[in-house]
Symmetry: C2
Subunit: 466 residues, 2 copies
């Protein structure tokens, strides 16, 4: 695919100013450093120009101009991604979508919420919960935009019971690379009207079109939730319990695993105590439902399974306060690990749920065989692991070499176990090579053909995914 | 797109015999008439040759041969479709997938069932229920293959609570139009590893690839279910109650609507009485859960809403026998309507749930304005209506003219209400023009580009969808 683009000149800047106004166009030193990287900051490049948009017509007119002039475009939300998908690696125009942040409509008869892409995940959950409704996807990073969540098909903690972002996107308004605006899906519950463009755009990391509006599916808010924190003598015993829980036909909302090291890091980072840090490993489960009785029925059996499998205790958190304190700590794990080192990169593999123990053990052993610090936690209930390789005091060349080596081994192992390169953080720029390795030439050729079906000039977020 | 194909000759037949054996290749009069049409039989054409396959390697070798020789291929399951998607409108080779009908693996640790595409829906539900597990999609046609269900993204009765077929497909093995075999998705719960080919192939009506294996997601089987049959003085009152039920935050498993005429037709067709036929219109609801108390809590509120909205009664079916009798009648509606006329065609629109009443009223009035008999029923809880236009004694020319006229008005109305051409039966051959009208040129061009991304020679099920 061609990746030579026209450089931005005065005329292009004038066009952008005419489209959006002087105060929403930023050039050179006016561009905040934040826009040159994402959360992990391993990939750095400034766009040539940054423009803040306020509506889909502006996006469309910029996209159309870029298409006609062969300028590349990078759409950008809050920049909380971890794989460089929102970094302008070829320069060009970066479109900042985060000011398109209005909640447009709550439709209680169809149980949908229509939003602009810049609305934050935490704003959505608060808004709908105030109406006794529920948007189930619950990624750790609550300050991500919904547009970003849609573009990575973010999963989060509650995927065990409720599924992922894709399952809660009913319809999208999308600006295509040509500048045309289309609507895919809608408020409808079923749809078999041609290939599902909606599902193709969800998870496409801003490479097929720019999402300018989303219709989200809501559920009634479960009336109650209870969390169980379950200490185990070691991680292996904790994780090997998970397939037994699944097999028991219990349906927890979330099953997370965590180890003492990471809990200690989070205590230090947040400056507050976790309810327990005396054991090497923990499972953290949530159950929700409409009555205490219903929930108790569900978790009693699971508590029993855990104790039979060697759990040291079952700590029940049934007040909102205690639950929030546990989940807040869980939400800080990434930041806490990040704060404990100089630089890090992440492996976000997903494996079948009964292969997690094997993968975690493999990753742990890599610390010794590759002599590098590795820390992780993850969604044990859905097989999605977040494993971080830490640079610490390694020099740049050694770090790059070791990181490549460790990643290669991890992704090979995931593939061998029937897993995939990314569970929820996407491929972006950083993981392209690993996707190629994992999926093979035939599938990658299909992905490229699909990209060209949407974007024949390859101007929208080029160099990402495929 | 090019649609001229090589005609089948002796050499092609020899190849197929060498690939699959003499007794699985059928030519000319050896081809049963059933293979010339689908369930609605409005579109008729024999394939030039019919071949029964037993495994994906056979499918791959036939596909590869067809690709090299520019022969078109039509994959076929049980032929229960309603839009001509499985009719060989360009002749060529029809591949009968229905003998690839093995259940390959039940994985209780990952809650997945791996099947070949020819397994029937009723076989799947029986098999998993015997293991105390649940495959939620529940289309009326239980003798359809799972391959057909995947290809139309079939929905069925339980979509209100559980979603549609797409939501229960975790992974697929697919033979591409080039003959290459790929796997998309897998046993993993989350996946953000490149564009979702799995979701693109689900619902693609056999035009992007041939599904040769599917990994289905299962749930624990709910322990109890209760159905409510709720008579109303008229259909409008019944249907206008549905958005109130949704808004109440109750979560029924199913909400169907039905009218007396159709119930009477079904009684005649099945030769057995429906529990009640004294009212003009009914809602039929199911609630499921793990305890009677949980279900009662859910339905009591809904029963109250119905009575407040003018329901004449609430008939509770809490024995399996009574429920089966009601749902068996519901399952026979299509056949019963079909038996009441000479020929019919169907409109399978889906509209937002709060617009159903408006659409049903519109369709009913078309009986008068267009002077033709129209009968329907539908999934009131998800906005998906099945409305049948009946030929009765009309002559062929008048029938075609009226049918076109009525369809055009219905699809325009659906579009106006924010609806889509098909909720679950697909586009196939019969509804292509209406999809074009509804989606417009930009979207249709994208669909065509995607088709060519998979199938550059346009040999796989050509002339369908787009």
């Amino acid at each position: 695919m061609d990746m030579t683009y026209k450089k931005i000149d005065e005329q292009d800047i004038s066009f952008l100013i005419s489209a959006c106004g002087q105060d929403r166009v930023f050039v050179g030193k006016e561009i905040n450093e934040d826009f040159s990287h994402d959360e992990l900051a391993g990939i750095r490049k400034f766009p040539e120009v940054l423009v803040e948009v306020e509506n889909s017509l502006e996006v469309s007119s910029i996209m159309k101009y870029a298409y006609e002039n062969n300028i590349c475009i990078t759409p950008r939300g809050q920049g909380t991604g971890l794989v460089g998908a929102s970094v302008a690696i070829h320069g060009g125009i970066m479109i900042n979508m985060s000011k398109m942040n209005r909640i447009l409509e709550l439709d209680e008869e169809n149980l949908t919420l229509t939003v602009e892409p810049g609305v934050l995940l935490m704003e959505i959950s608060k808004y709908v919960e105030d109406h006794d409704l529920f948007y189930p996807p619950d990624p750790g990073e609550k300050s991500a935009t919904i547009g970003g969540n849609i573009n990575t098909n973010a999963g989060g903690m509650r995927a065990v019971k409720y599924g992922v972002t894709r399952d809660y996107v009913r319809g999208l308004e999308v600006v295509l690379p040509t500048g045309e605006i289309i609507e895919v899906g809608g408020k409808v519950v079923k749809n078999s009207s041609g290939y599902s463009l909606k599902d193709l755009i969800v998870g496409s990391e801003g490479t097929l079109g720019i999402v300018t509006k989303a219709v989200l599916k809501l559920l009634p808010l479960p009336k109650k939730a209870i969390s169980l924190l379950i200490p185990f003598p070691n991680l292996e015993m904790a994780i090997e319990t998970v397939p037994k829980i699944i097999k028991s036909k219990a349906v927890p909302t979330a099953i997370e695993y965590m180890v003492r090291d990471v809990i200690l890091a989070s205590e230090e980072f947040l400056g507050r105590k976790f309810p327990d840090n005396s054991s090497d490993a923990y499972l953290l489960l949530t159950f929700d439902g409409n009555s205490t009785e219903e929930i108790e029925n569900a978790y009693e059996r699971v508590a029993h399974i855990c104790l039979e499998s060697g759990a040291l205790d079952v700590l029940i958190s049934n007040t909102q306060e205690r639950q929030e304190s546990i989940w807040k700590a869980r939400g800080a794990f990434l930041e806490a690990i990040k704060a404990s080192t100089t630089e890090m990169d992440e492996c976000d593999v997903v494996v079948p749920r009964n292969r997690i123990a094997e993968f975690v053990k493999f990753a742990d052993e890599l610390q010794k065989t590759c002599d590098i610090r590795i820390k992780g936690f993850g969604h044990a209930g859905d097989g999605n692991l977040h494993i971080y390789i830490l640079k610490d005091q390694l020099d740049e060349a050694v770090w790059k070499r070791k990181m490549d080596e460790v990643f290669k081994l991890m992704y090979e192992k995931a593939h061998e176990l029937g897993g995939k390169v990314s569970g929820e953080h996407g491929i972006g720029y950083a993981k392209k090579g690993f996707l190629q390795e994992s999926e093979g030439n035939t599938t990658m050729a299909l992905l490229k053909n699909i990209k060209l079906a949407f974007d024949p000039k390859n101007i929208l977020n080029p160099g990402k995914v495929c």
